[in-house]
């Protein structure tokens, strides 16, 4: 189990992480979701012993990352947000290097990386700097796994990766989870939250909710309407000024609208939009997804 207790960390004036407490169960696929600058990377760097917390304590499988950093480094596989393997070494050489550094060999833990490594094996003589984004990411994952870590720590692994590769990547994570590795991942993409067993919504250095993605969505109390018409921008401005509007924001090709009242106000909104000369109006109730929940949470906190 991983336990954060009242963790805070500041850089000069900036409070990167504020009084964070949460626990992550062993064997989970746990996600930190939050926009850039939320404090995810800082939290990760404290967990993997690269940063020391100003306040609070962290427990990682019974170890303190600060005091027992040597042991912690043996059981963590860390993949930083920025690709940080040697550009001028080949796939094979990078992997070999990190295996040796951790006192193991590729053969010893090949079963862990086999599925992933097979995909990049045809290019094993190629220098890491010349790989595509998706291949780099697979190589980095292999290197982070090669010493059979108990905890895999992935800092924004899917940032800058195409949609297909992202899906593939999450499939890989699920299969690693089934091998008993605890995985902690951070991402700015809300849609990826659904893949996690449990997610923490993070903003401005604070954790807002730690729940399963389903529970987060279920907790969304309000009626959500998806609005579409011929002039979306005008509609957005119109609805923002509408007296009963609770919140409205663009969401893909729709506007997501929440009303202050509890009743379903489809007719009222339709009238309001018509009054402002908008046409082809289409209003449907929709189920909220995790992004709606996040927007709702941050709204609650900022008000």
């Amino acid at each position: 189990m991983i336990q954060f207790t009242n963790i805070s960390k500041s850089f000069d004036e900036v409070k990167a992480v504020r009084n964070v407490s949460l626990s992550i169960d062993e064997g989970q696929l746990f996600g930190f979701i939050g926009p850039d600058g939320a404090g995810k990377t800082t939290l990760f760097r404290m967990l993997n012993s690269l940063l020391i917390a100003d306040e609070g304590s962290i427990e990682l499988f019974g170890l303190d990352p600060h005091k027992d950093y040597k042991k912690v480094r043996q059981i963590i596989g860390y993949m930083p947000g920025k690709f940080s393997l040697y550009y001028d070494l080949s796939i094979e050489e990078n992997l070999n290097f990190f295996a040796t550094v951790f006192g193991t060999t590729i053969e010893e833990n090949y079963h862990l990386i086999e599925d992933i490594y097979k995909q990049i094996e045809p290019f094993k003589k190629r220098h890491a700097g010349k790989l595509s984004g998706g291949m780099k990411q697979k190589l980095a994952l292999c290197c982070a796994l090669i010493h059979k870590p108990k905890l895999l720590l992935l800092d924004e692994p899917t940032t800058g990766v195409d949609a297909v590769s992202r899906r593939e990547f999450w499939d890989m994570l699920k299969s690693l989870k089934s091998k008993g590795i605890t995985i902690v991942v951070s991402t700015p993409y809300m849609d990826e939250a659904g893949m996690c067993d449990s997610v923490a919504l993070m903003q401005n250095g604070q954790i807002h909710a730690v729940e399963s993605p389903k529970a987060i969505v279920d907790n969304f109390q309000k009626e959500l309407l998806a609005v579409k018409c011929n002039d979306m921008y005008k509609a957005l401005l119109t609805l923002r000024n509408y007296e009963n509007c609770y919140n409205v924001y663009p969401f893909g090709e729709y506007l997501h609208y929440i009303d202050k009242r509890d009743s379903k106000p489809i007719e009222d909104i339709n009238d309001c939009l018509l009054k402002h000369d908008l046409q082809e109006i289409e209003i449907n109730p929709v189920k909220p997804d995790i992004e709606d929940c996040f927007i709702e949470l941050t709204r609650k906190l900022s008000v």
């Binding site: 012993s49 690269l50 930083p80 940080s84 393997l85």
Partner: protein, 369 residues
């Protein structure tokens, strides 16, 4: 041990794959040796002299013929107008002007004393002084010869000097310069390569990945130090070979002593380079700081100018200057054939330097922050 070996393996792979660095390592020493050794010569040759001879006597002709025979002077136009000579100086057509007045020979014979005038372009003060010195010597010689011919010096007692130049009998300036250039070369490679290499890992982000591995600080620093030590010694060898083949550099002393000293020296310099890079965040910072140290170290070390002529403060500062010790040692070993015992104090100083710089580098390398 396995970790260290794999670190070294990685480092060498990277160096040999670096398409910019590799030619530099091979070509730099040769170019430096060929260009710098010749350029940094302090030998004074071909000083342009203009003679204004108003006398046109046998004495003045004797003096001019002596000037022409001298390797130091290149006699230009002979003028008969002092103002023209001064114009030559103004227009930078000559370095030094010799004015011999009318009646020179006659006055000399009659009174035994005569005045000639020397005007030197003293923009380069040391050159002007040397030229002045050489010229005065030649005038004295001429004077002596004239006196002897006129039999006026029969009973004069003379002190005759017999000089011999030890260790460098031909006064070959290159033997002095070449080891100096070699030291600069080895220092340059050592300091810059090691310092830039480590900070590059920080910039690219690989340091972050290394930091979460169980690699120990000293292993990491050794992994950076050993490859550049080997490259530095290789550079030295290349330079010595080139020096031998191109300039016939003498190897009077033992190569074992030289290489032992060079190794300790390189460790000291590499430690300093690594220390700079552990304290820096970008390659730019490393470049500026290293350059600052390089310049001071080299100019203070006595590579181009004698340390004895420097102000006392500068001489004292040399205690902290690793280049100074190596500069002394390599010249003593190569030219004078100094043995270990004669260099004991240099060995001691540089060893202390090496210990301190490497220790500081290891200590200041932070895996956490």
């Amino acid at each position: 041990m396995r970790i260290l070996i794999s670190l070294l393996q990685k480092e060498f792979l990277q160096i040999f794959r670096n398409k910019t660095l590799l030619p530099l390592i091979f070509v730099l020493p040769l170019v430096q040796l060929i260009v710098l050794v010749n350029a940094a010569t302090m030998d004074m040759k071909n000083i342009r002299i203009t003679v204004v001879d108003m006398n046109l006597s046998s004495t003045s002709r004797l003096l001019v013929s002596k000037l022409e025979a001298s390797p130091f002077f290149e006699v230009g136009d002979m003028l008969i107008n002092k103002q023209m000579g001064i114009d030559y100086l103004q227009d930078n057509k000559t370095d030094i002007l010799l004015y011999m007045p009318q009646e020179m020979e006659q006055t000399l014979t009659k009174e035994g004393v005569v005045k000639v005038q020397i005007i030197a372009d003293a923009i380069d003060a040391s050159k002007a002084q040397l030229a002045f010195g050489y010229l005065t010597n030649i005038i004295q010689e001429t004077h002596m010869q004239v006196m002897l011919e006129q039999q006026k010096l029969q009973n004069v007692k003379r002190i005759s000097t017999n000089s011999s130049f030890w260790f460098n009998p031909d006064l070959n300036y290159k033997y002095y310069m070449l080891p100096g250039v070699l030291v600069i070369l080895v220092t340059l490679i050592g300091l810059f390569l090691s310092a830039l290499n480590l900070v590059r890992e920080k910039e690219i982000g690989t340091a972050e990945q290394i930091n979460v591995t169980p690699i120990k600080k000293y292993q990491f620093i050794l992994g950076k130090l050993i490859p550049f030590l080997i490259i530095g010694l290789f550079e030295l060898t290349l330079g010595l070979l080139a020096g031998k083949l191109i300039y016939g550099l003498p190897f009077s002393g033992s190569l074992l002593v030289l290489y032992s000293f060079a190794s300790i020296y390189l460790i000291a310099v590499l430690g300093l380079g690594l220390l700079i890079s552990t304290l820096s965040q970008t390659q730019q910072q490393v470049m500026m700081v290293s350059f600052f140290f390089m310049l001071i170290f080299i100019l203070l070390s006595g590579a181009f100018t004698a340390v004895e002529n420097m102000p006392e403060l500068a001489q004292k500062l040399n205690v902290f200057n690793p280049v100074y010790y190596f500069m002394n040692a390599i010249r003593m070993i190569l030219i004078k054939g100094a043995v270990f015992a004669e260099l004991a104090s240099e060995f001691r100083s540089i060893s202390i330097y090496a210990c301190i710089s490497v220790t500081l580098a290891v200590l200041s390398y932070r895996k956490t922050n």
